[in-house]
Amino acid sequence: MTKVVAIMSMSLDGYVADANDGVAEVFDWYFSGDVEVSTASASSGMTFHVSAPSADHLRGLAAEVGAMLTGRRTFEVADGWGGQHPWDVPAFVVTHQVPDGWPRPGSTVQFVTDGIESAVARAKSAAGPKSVGVHGAQTIQQCLDAGLLDEIHIDLAAVLLGAGVRLFDHLANTPVVLGNPTVVTGVGVTHLRYPVHTS
């Protein structure tokens, strides 16, 4: 069964971006060690320097994910990943309207305009036996509300932001009971992975 996994870096006080949409603080841990990890894409790949436990964790995640699902805001902030998601998997963007100039020839970024359930279904079928990674606060909230998430994966960054974009906001179907997490302690970050108990 294809799992749907929310993946997000979050501050200790629950923010995924600061008040100016900045993510430098919650992404600090990507540069907190001396083990090099590169993402797969030849054109949009990135190289991180993390601690050994975080490196194992990142490599495991990259190997597991077969498709990404994001919202329009993440797509815009990432500048469309240059047409190819850094993890070298197809990316599905949930949006009301396909942006001008997209989809681009040769790009693996696709757009879904008929809602979150359809987007999850398409991403699942593209991921095959692998997992669908869901990224972006609003998209994760939509998936959680619709009961579409199997796991929540949080990289809990050792920082307080005080303001910004909250991950767990505007939720309609709470409380959500989670299972016991797996916990990996890195440098300045705790990688938490919770199963979602769906009723």
Binding site: L12, A158, L161, G162, P175, N180, T190, L192
Partner: protein, 132 residues
Amino acid sequence: MTTATDHPFADILNAGRKVVFSRTLKTAEWANTTIAAGDTTEEIDKLRRGGDGHIVVWGGVSLWRSLMRLDLIDELQLSLFPYVAGEGTRLFDGVPTSYRLDLVSSTPSSSGIVELRYRRHREPAAKSAKRL
């Protein structure tokens, strides 16, 4: 809890020195309990100078927020429950400034609670200035 002697915490709590931060409470019945009614920073400073152990802030989200706003907390020990509440009282509401923490440890337990321990990240210069 003030009189029970069979609770695992009883010996520690009954014997330990306790300080209640309150502007309304006049007397406290519990043994070894005093009331701090003055300026929070000055009261904490008095406590710091009066001993060499740790000062444990145990509960009370209002006191916690006052201490966070005054930047008087050196270490945070938090229990993270496997639960998305969606609404309720937020621990970090009213924290005015953004700052970095040093992660000391994160430990899972069989109940699904993750015990998190952080230290306030302070530059060495600021630290020595604080102690003057």
